[in-house]
Each structure stands twice: as structure tokens, then as C-alpha cells.
Symmetry: C2
Subunit: 320 residues, 2 copies
DNA sequence: ATGAAAGCGCTAACAG
DNA sequence: CTGTTAGCGCTTTCAT
């Protein structure tokens, strides 16, 4: 009835009745029931955002960017966390889809067959984020981690390092880290350089972890002159270890991480790193989604947006 | 019809038809519509979790704990972020309530009148978390930040420090930091000690910020022999600054933060700190909510759960 | 063990 | 400008 119109500022309503309704609503403490509304109107204005983890910092960051971008839109993000587990991703995706969201933003390009099928069948815009090395279901916005790995390898070689070690999370869990590693080794191989030592760990990343891993590896392979870490936190741990040991960084030992975690700016030395464009990814993903929704499901030209990460040399990479 | 029964394993259904339905659902890629389901059954199985920020680390952590605790329940958490803004809290709360969640977990005890009214009128369990210094709408689980501040003050005085400075986020935004500060100064006052210098900053906290603030304050008030920080990150920045300057920590200058951020374990020295029981808070809040829901809105005895933070002396507080 | 019918609280088309 | 009438896709209750 009229009430509905007032509450949504739709259709023509006289100022008098409008006032009356608004007041009544206020005094009654009326909160509309979106469930009923959504069912009736077939519009839910929810965006499912599916990410692997909340403790990685990277993801809250893109999430913030998405929220911010959606701020003065009808759309509202709803997050689901997969813990890097494909089965859980499937579950979360199913749950989310059963709320009939207007769109999906999901991290990564690798999903189980079932997940891909769901995404494809949902009939809504799907934006896969963070990574573009692969075939998206619909749209993708992210960086090429393979290229990022290559770029870092090139920079390291250019500085004359040649006994290179790698440390990172266990690969099967984190495709983007894996791709960086692959790009990295590939580029080294082109110059005839092989990784001298490598270590894959499980569990959270923190300074302490980086310390341990680095100490172990350097004890094992004392000839290493460069260490490439799959993330800044363990890299920073390695850096602190090296400084404690009185190792000349980067003359004797160079270091680099990944992500450009701004939280770490303030360490005695600035770790060389590469930013993953997390804010831009969130913004661009949200914009793309909005654009897709606007065009009313018309000409769905699958779009891939590649962002370009920038390399920060910091104080741990430049030898000359 | 029967299909509904099969999909929810309710009522008696013959194995034959059950199979048939299940298979049909699978081949059709059928995803149930929860909106319709929720509307019909008047049950939504969503828990609204309202927190100030995702970039503070603390909140993703309690969120994880909540999610984990709710894992094998029907309930699913849905998060809303307020950016520490009361108006935004109101908005988010309203939005959330319009989805008719089964319960609410919300950070803090201070809310606008409108927000409190909504919470009270919602007719669902409300768990206010993080803080217990105040009057909860319904239940609360958290620590006493005032007591935490006092406890830290006591520990500092016991070590013979007497020229004490404080650094923290601008107060009006963060009630828990304010309460810690109040408890801190209160306890110092009891021993006739006054804060010598203090500084309230705005914006994110990171190592770099802590460095700057500390350098500034020590330049301004060189007599200080202890610095209490409202969080570990700026505290760690201060610590790094002090080490760079060759200051004897904690003989000449003691330091302490708050939160026990495990990410920092691995710094050259361990910062004295106090944990905020974030994991326990999340777990306990979820359990309390479940209990409340079980008892079917029966005897609603408002419950307050106070957790006890533990003080870690680290390497920056113990002088003797 | 299965089908039929009546809503859940709203929105969207129509009438007036 | 305002009221009326159908549903939205499920769950629930009541018959069969």
C-alpha cells in the first residue's frame, strides 16, 4: 500500500500522508523486513565477496576498498571465508548463492568444477580478483603473479645476486604464491640460475616465523646471497635476523618479500617488495560489478583488468 | 511439497523418492532460495556481527573465533563495519536488523540512543563484546579496559618508573582506549604520579607512526623514563626507535603496548603488553548467543562475562 | 508417505 | 494521489 511507497520514496505521495507515515514508523520503531521485500521484488542488492582468509591483511584491505566503493550504492557486500579450502569454498558459495546476490566477487581463478558450474549458472556478474593468470568465468581484475615473480627475479639478477633461496607458504594452498614462485624460477632459469635452496612452510606468517626459517636455511646453505620470500612478514623476520647477526644487507645478503605491507614501514631497513595493488583491485572490482549490473545483463563481454604492481627496492635489494 | 521435505531431511520420505529428488536437484543445479525459505519459516539463522573496523587486526581475529565457533551450527555470521562512527553504526544496525537476524554481536557498550533502542526492541539476543565497563543492553563479554589500564600502571610503578608518557589514538573515537587511559591515569594518581606528556594521534597505527610519535615526544620531554602506548604497533615503532638511538631499554626507558599482537613476536626485543582475550571473547560470545537461542527466549537473565587479560612483561618493562 | 492449500511481509501492477 | 489485488518461492499444516 501507500506505506511501502513512502518508505522507498517511490511514486507520488502527498507530503501530508508522507509525514504521517514517517512519524508512525518512527514511533512504532518499524524496521522493514528486507526478506519479504527481496522476495517480492526479486532484488537483493547484496554482493557476495568470497575470500580465503581474514587474517592475511591483504583481504581485509581489498574488502575495505570494495565496501568503500559500494558505500553510496544500493549494494552491500557480504563476506564469506574459505580458509583456502576448495570444499569450503564450494559450501560458502552455495550458501551465498542461495541468498540470490546481485553479483559475486571471489578471490582467485582456481575453483572446483562444482564451484565453477555454480558461478557460471548463477546468471549474475562474477568478478574474480587478485589474479589474472588463468581463465576467468566472467571478469577478472588483478595482477599477474607469474609476471611479478619474473620481474623480481630480473631485478635480483640485475643486482648481481646469484645464489638465491626461496621461502614461502606451502604451494597447493596458495595459487598466487605458487605462480609467483613459478614465474620467479622460470626467469632465473632463462639466465641459467637455479634456486639453491627452498623451504615451504605451513601456518601463519609472522616475524618470528621468518626468523626461524631464515636462520635454518642460512645454516644449511651458507653460500646464499639472496632470499626471496613469498610475503613481507616472513621477509621482515628474515631481515631482523640478518641484522641481529650483523650480516651486511644487502652487500652480503639481499632480501625481498611481497605485498608492500605498509604496517612494516618503520623497520630499521626497508624490505624490498612489490605491491599487490590490493586497494585498486577492490575498487576496480566494485566498479566493474556496478557497470555490469547497470548494463542490465546485456552485452556480457568477459573483461580482464590487469593491474601493474610496482617494485620497491627498499634497502635490501640495491647493491650498486 | 515433498521436495522441500527431502532437501531438509524432515518428515518421512521413502528412500526411492528421496533419491529421485536429490538427483533431479543435482542435474538441474538447483540452489534453494533462502529468501523465500526464511520468509516462510520466520527463521533466518543469521548472526549480525557489528565491528568498528577490519584493519585493526583485533576484529578479524574475534570474527574468526566467532565463525569458528558457529561452524557446525545452523548460524552464519554476517559482518557490518562502522568505522568507529556512531551514525554509521546506526545505519549498519538498521540494515542488519531488517534482515531479521537471530542474534546480534556488537562491539562496545556505547551506542547512540537510537541504536540502543533498536537493539532493545529487536527482541533477539544481543551480545556486546570487547568491553564490560558499562551497562549492556543484554549480555556482554569482554575485559575491563579500565582495570587493564590500572594493572599496567601498577606494574610500571612497581618497576620504579616515574616519569611516564602516554601515546594513543584520539580518544572520542575509541572508547576502549579511552578507558584504558583513564584507568591508567587513575592508578598513577593514587601513587601521586602524573602523566608527564601525552599525545593523541589520528589515523592508522603502524611501526612508522610509533617511531615518529616517540621521537617527537622524547625530543619534547627528554626526562621521560616510560612510555605507555595504546597499541602494540606504535609501541613496537617506539621500541625500534629507541634501539636505533642506542637507548638502554628498559633501564633508561621502559615501554609497553596493548593487545599482544602475535605478529610482532620476532622483534629484537619483546614489547611488554597485555592481551585483550580476543579469541576467547569471540568464542564465548558465540557460545552465549547459542545458549540464549536454545533457551528459546525464555528466562532472559542479562549476563556479563568478564575475561582476565594477562600481562606479558616482555623485555621492555622489567628493570630488576 | 505424499499431496494440497494457506500464508510469511512485502512489491508491483492495476484501478479508482 | 491512494487503495486493491496478486504473487515472489518457500514452509507448514492439514488432508488424503
Amino acid at each position: 500500500m501507500t506505506v511501502s511507497r513512502v518508505l522507498r520514496n517511490r511514486g507520488d505521495v502527498s507530503a501530508a500522508t508522507r509525514e504521517k507515515v514517517l512519524e508512525a514508523a518512527k514511533t512504532l520503531g518499524y524496521v522493514p523486513n528486507k526478506i519479504a521485500g527481496a522476495l517480492a521484488s526479486q532484488r537483493v542488492n547484496l554482493v557476495a565477496v568470497i575470500i580465503p582468509s581474514l587474517s592475511n591483511m591483504v583481504f581485509p584491505e581489498v574488502l575495505s576498498a570494495i565496501s568503500h566503493e559500494l558505500e553510496d550504492t544500493e549494494l552491500q557486500p557480504v563476506v564469506g571465508v574459505t580458509d583456502y579450502l576448495p570444499e569450503k569454498e564450494e559450501k560458502v558459495l552455495f550458501e551465498m548463492l542461495s541468498w540470490r546476490p546481485s553479483g559475486i566477487i571471489i578471490a582467485g581463478l582456481e575453483h572446483s568444477d562444482a564451484s565453477r558450474a555454480m558461478l557460471a549458472a548463477a546468471g549474475i556478474p562474477v568478478i574474480e580478483i587478485m589474479d589474472i593468470d588463468g581463465t576467468p568465468v566472467d571478469c577478472a581484475v588483478g595482477i599477474s603473479h607469474r609476471r611479478a615473480g619474473r620481474q623480481m627475479a630480473k631485478a635480483i639478477l640485475k643486482q648481481g645476486f646469484e645464489a638465491i633461496g626461496f621461502m614461502g607458504t606451502k604451494m597447493p594452498l596458495d595459487h598466487r604464491a605458487r605462480k609467483r614462485f613459478e614465474g620467479f624460477t622460470e626467469m632465473l632459469a632463462k639466465s641459467g640460475v637455479e634456486i639453491l635452496d627452498q623451504e615451504f612452510y605451513e601456518g601463519g606468517s609472522a616475524l618470528g616465523k621468518g626468523r626461524e626459517l631464515t636462520a635454518d636455511m642460512m645454516a644449511r646453505s651458507p653460500d646464499l646471497d639472496f632470499l626471496y620470500y613469498s610475503n613481507d612478514l616472513i621477509g621482515a623476520g628474515g631481515l631482523l635476523w640478518a641484522l641481529d647477526e650483523g650480516i651486511d644487507v644487502p652487500k652480503r645478503l639481499g632480501l625481498a618479500g611481497f605485498n608492500n605491507v605498509e604496517l612494516l614501514q618503520g623497520l630499521p631497513r626497508q624490505l624490498a617488495t612489490m605491491d599487490a595493488c590490493r586497494r585498486e583491485i577492490g575498487e576496480k572490482a566494485a566498479q566493474l560489478l556496478l557497470a555490469r549490473l547497470d548494463e542490465g545483463g546485456g552485452t556480457l563481454g568477459s573483461e580482464v583488468v590487469e593491474l601493474t604492481p610496482t617494485l620497491s627496492m627498499g634497502d635490501t635489494l640495491k647493491r650498486y
